[in-house]
């Protein structure tokens, strides 16, 4: 059952910053020592605040940027060492939808051409491509009359659905969805999520969904990874992580989602304060320590290691370890 499709161990991506004549070189630790295994047929959620390195991680998997250290195996293939044919296959197998609906489509290409383009690259003839493009439009509940429109003539939600349709046309095995539904209104969001779930059931797709929205995670994801300042702080099954969060940051994230009952608002003790801080000037200890109300001197001095709390549920926090002792 568990064949890994995406595998990474100790993955690092640092960006250079402030590299000028009069300043010392600094590094932005966008992705720092990340271990992640995604199995075939899984829907994995990746959550975390803005600037925690989620999109960088996605770009690394897509081979849009090269890791500073370690490597990624996609379907057992390392994209950096792949042959031309393997690379072609990889490009066909992984599809992506980025978060910005306006920027996802080429402004000078009609919707039809945008959807057909990936098929043409991979050798589908024009006529069949057209048929499949129509089918894909139907799947995302858009009228086929949009084929000849330019993206600027459509709404953000329509653009995003077209981006999803385009990602689907090549029958990918893996889909990386970066905030796929944040530009959609609630009803369309539900449609798109259900569509993704249906496809997953039919074709055994593997998804990695990057999102802020914990409701989406709860609704579609099998497993969740929580990321904070370039590091994974907790992961496990959706059930475990969302209902029995262990890391103080995950607890804070839960507390930050809107509470429907007005009388219960402002009572949650775990709510996060402050901002994530900088990825450049990192303290030696736990990255969350400056914002963590449970932080001890140990937290400020050492980095906590990933510890398994219950089967398949891990967190990187000293508190859990101490509690067990």
């Amino acid at each position: 059952m568990s064949t890994p499709v995406i595998e990474m161990h100790g993955l690092k991506k640092y960006f250079k910053s402030g590299n000028s004549l009069f300043r010392t070189k600094q590094w932005v630790h966008a992705v720092d020592d990340v271990d992640m295994v995604i199995n075939k047929g899984e829907i994995v959620g990746l959550v975390g605040e803005s600037g925690s390195g989620k999109t960088t991680l996605a770009r690394l998997i897509l081979n849009l940027t090269q890791p500073t250290e370690s490597e990624i195996l996609v379907d057992g293939v390392n994209p950096r060492k792949a042959t031309r044919a393997q690379m072609r296959q990889l490009r066909k197998d992984i599809a992506v939808v980025f978060q910005d609906p306006g920027g996802n489509l080429n402004p000078r290409q009609t919707v039809g051409n945008s959807i057909m383009r990936p098929m043409i690259i991979h050798g589908v003839n024009k006529k069949e491509g057209y048929e499949r493009a129509l089918k894909a439009l139907e799947m995302v509940k858009l009228d086929k009359s949009y084929m000849d429109n330019y993206p600027a003539q459509l709404s953000g939600g329509q653009q995003q659905r077209i981006a999803i349709a385009r990602a689907l046309v090549l029958d990918p095995k893996i889909m990386i969805l970066d905030e796929p539904t944040s530009a959609l209104d609630i009803s369309v969001q539900a449609q798109v999520l259900n569509l993704l779930l249906d496809l997953q059931e039919e074709m055994g797709l593997t998804y990695m969904i990057i999102t802020h929205d914990l409701n989406i995670v709860n609704y579609v994801c099998d497993r969740v990874f929580v990321m904070y300042l370039g590091k994974i702080v907790e992961y496990g099954s959706t059930e475990d992580v969302l209902h029995r969060p262990s890391h103080p940051y995950t607890k804070g994230l839960m507390a930050a989602s809107p509470i429907l009952d007005p009388t219960q608002r402002d009572k949650n003790p775990e709510r996060l304060s402050g901002d994530p801080g900088s990825l450049v000037h990192l303290a030696p200890g736990c990255r969350f320590a400056p914002r963590c109300k449970y932080a001890s001197d140990k937290c400020r001095a050492d980095q906590p290691q990933m510890v398994e709390i219950e089967p398949g549920h891990c967190a990187a926090c000293f508190l859990d370890v101490d509690a067990e002792k």
Binding site: L64, V96, N106, R108, R117
Partner: protein, 279 residues
């Protein structure tokens, strides 16, 4: 529908519309030169030299007794040809180098930017003169030389735009789908910078006509007996007090042409890409 509304906006923008009409007139004159001109540009009667404008010779005659009106009309084609051909060559060089520099970055970018900045830091006319000296004196060489001296203006803008577009999600998605580098450049990035390039071209055209005429004036471009305006102005300059018409009429034609392209270009810029203003 989109095209129609664009045309309507074009008509509404006064400077663009006036410039457009002026250019159309120019093109008509250039195409019908042999019909409009009353005399052959190269035949004159030496006994008729420096005749003042009259019914017989509308703009008077020059030092060889040739009809200045006919020569000015024939010169239109040369001026338009150098403007269009020159802008096309300049744009082709500038845009492709800008695309390459912006897309590939690293040492390729550094090299191209260095050369572009070097050329750009010197006066265009001086660079163009150096190229003409290398290539030999002729109008065609003047056009090539001016293009070789002027391409950095495109490279700088195209490079900046390419670098911005390269990080757009739609380009990254293209990479993720396995687009080739050439397809990314020409199908994804280039169509998105083309409109502003056309604006740039029409704005830089007056300057281009100015440069080529200047070089002809300096004796590096068109050679006698060509009806080129720059050449005519330079030959008339020595007798400007005795026979001002020899200089004045080609000058007016030149000014008219430059105003026409300036009005059109600036109007077009306001219509298509207001952000280019002040460049």
């Amino acid at each position: 529908m989109k095209k129609k509304s664009f045309f309507r906006r074009l008509v509404k923008n006064k400077s663009c519309f006036i410039g457009f009409i002026m250019i159309v007139l120019l093109i008509v004159v250039a195409l019908l030169d042999s019909v409009i001109a009353t005399y052959d540009y190269n035949k004159g009667n030496v006994t008729d030299r420096y005749k003042a404008p009259s019914a017989e010779h509308l703009f008077g005659t020059d030092e060889m007794g040739r009809d200045v009106f006919s020569r000015t009309v024939y010169g239109t084609k040369l001026a338009l040809r150098s403007a269009l051909l020159g802008a096309a060559i300049e744009m082709a060089i500038g845009v492709s180098l800008g695309l390459i520099a912006g897309f590939f970055g690293k040492w390729i970018d550094t090299t191209i930017t260095f050369v572009a900045d070097m050329i750009w830091s010197l006066p265009t006319i001086v660079i163009a003169m150096a190229f003409v000296m290398l290539l030999g004196k002729s109008l065609d060489n003047v056009i090539i030389a001016c293009a070789l001296a002027g391409w950095p203006r495109y490279t700088r803008i195209v490079r900046a735009k390419t670098m911005g577009l390269k990080d757009q999600p739609f380009v990254e998605t293209g990479i993720a789908f396995g687009e080739s580098k050439a397809a990314l450049m020409f199908k994804y990035i280039f169509p998105n910078i083309l409109p502003s390039m056309l604006v740039m071209a029409s704005i830089s055209m007056p300057g281009f006509i100015g440069s080529t005429t200047t070089l002809s004036f300096l004796g590096m471009g068109a050679q006698p007996p060509s009806p080129d305006w720059g050449l005519a102005i330079s030959r008339g300059a020595s007798v400007i007090y005795r026979a001002p018409w020899v200089t004045i009429f080609p000058c007016l034609a030149l000014i008219y042409t430059i105003i026409a392209f300036s009005l059109f270009g600036e109007g077009l810029r306001d219509l298509i890409d207001p952000r280019l203003q002040g460049n």
